[in-house]
Amino acid sequence: MELLAFGDTGWGDELFRATLMTIAVSITAMLIGFSFAGIFTPLKLSKFKSLNLIANIYTTVIRGVPELLVIYLFFFGGSGAIMFVASMFGYNEYIEINAFITGSFAIGIISGAYSTEVFRGAIQSIDKGQFEAAKVLGLSKFAQFYKITLPQMLRLAIPNLSNVWQITLKDTSLISVTGLVEIMRQSYIAAGSTRDPLFFYSFAAVLYLLLTFLSMKLINKLEVKYSRGY
């Protein structure tokens, strides 16, 4: 137990900070994923075949390629790409991107592909009559989206989004390969310096279980909130 003490003698405070880092990366990645989904879901539902194609390439490639490979692409290619863009604007110094940003972007793009599919499915399963009724009532496109589509979509999407959240949370463990100190990386460091990998990796597993358990509880509450009236 003294291995988990807070302060200089144990790894308690380090692991606690690492857990907060995991939560922070997961939430950031999820939000980045939502913004990607915000762009690609309309493309998927668009009438234009070429726009469909773009969105389909995004979701198919991301869902068919291992997460780790995507992370390596961002880790090794990220700063190169940014430097290339910067050099077009005449900035030629070396730019290093923070591991947090690279990591949450990589996981965010992955999570966005899953969210896109979830939102597409949710919007498609809203009854057509709802849109027709909105039109008949003379609602503007904007009002139709915020008052009719969005609330119903959220209700249908939340159970599947909770799966996406679980996947995203677990995927953040892969960012440890880039050196960002989240649960997995911190356990690796602790295991290396105490030579007690069994304990620290098992403890990491417990932390992840705790995170998934607590987030499920929270999401269930949201689910109840959004399905009132049903």
């Binding site: 198919t60 490639v61 869902r63 068919g64 390629v65 291992p66 997460e67 780790l68 490979l69 390596y72 692409l73 090794f76 290619g77 190169g80 679980q166 677990k170 995927d171 463990s173 892969l174 440890s176 390969v177 997995m184 356990s187 690796y188 295991a191 030579r195 007690d196 990998p197 069994l198 990796y201 098992s202 990491a204 597993a205 992840y208 279980l209 998934t212 358990f213």
Partner: protein, 219 residues
């Protein structure tokens, strides 16, 4: 880009090996735990539920690290014959993958067993077929057919999961891709080739499952 292709293709063979062995072992584990989940005994049921909860609630990376780095720490294990297996990263990766996919497969099969209409089992009973034969000849084939689409997804997820073998020094497709990227600093080209191979495998798996679904459809 062209030079790296044969190397990556060779590595893809290791990925496929890891995938197929862990899927076969995982299928047996999944079937076993799905049957345990249907058991009326609370302890057996809870045990099977706990297994699937733990393996589905933690990242695969943690599971591999516990098995590869963690188990080697137990002195007792080092003296048994198990050590022959556990000191090899290849087998550790397969054990982790099989246990992981086993947990997901058990959930898929369990829900398939539970959606079998009771009438089908009753029909079997009224024809005088023994419960054992009903289970093996009626329930299992129907459950397998029911779970094909979900299992197809699981195979693809597992294929992506095998990329984690590269974290325990195995040179699978992702491992080799990372090695080439870090020596040539051409991340985009390598990503396109390695990603293309993965996508091709996804495509093949997807179509095989689709074919099986059609072949074993009820109509």
């Amino acid at each position: 880009m062209i030079n790296s292709f044969p190397k990556l293709l060779n590595a893809a063979v290791i990925t496929l090996k890891l995938l197929s062995v862990s899927l076969i072992v995982g299928l047996f584990i999944g079937l076993l735990f799905a049957i345990l989940r249907l058991n009326k005994n609370v302890f057996i049921y809870k045990f099977a539920y706990g297994y699937s909860y733990i393996f589905r609630g933690t990242p695969l990376l943690v599971q591999i690290f516990i098995i590869y780095f963690g188990l080697g720490q137990i002195e007792y294990l080092r003296s048994t014959f198990l050590w022959v297996i556990l000191k090899e990263p290849y087998w550790c990766a397969i054990i982790a993958f099989a246990l992981n996919t086993g947990a997901y497969t058990s959930e898929i099969l369990r829900s398939a067993f539970q959606t079998i209409k009771p009438g089908i089992i009753e029909a079997g009973q009224s024809l005088g077929i023994s419960n054992k034969i009903i289970f093996y000849k009626i329930q299992i084939p129907i459950a397998i057919r029911q779970s094909l689409p979900a299992y197809g997804n699981e195979i693809i997820l597992m294929m992506k999961g095998t990329s984690l073998a590269s974290t325990v020094t195995l040179m699978d497709l992702t491992g080799v891709a990372k090695y080439i990227i870090s020596t040539t600093f051409k991340p985009i080209e390598v990503f396109i080739v390695a990603g293309g191979i993965y996508l091709f495998m996804t495509f093949v798996i997807h179509n095989v499952i689709k074919f099986l679904e059609k072949k074993y459809s009820f109509n």
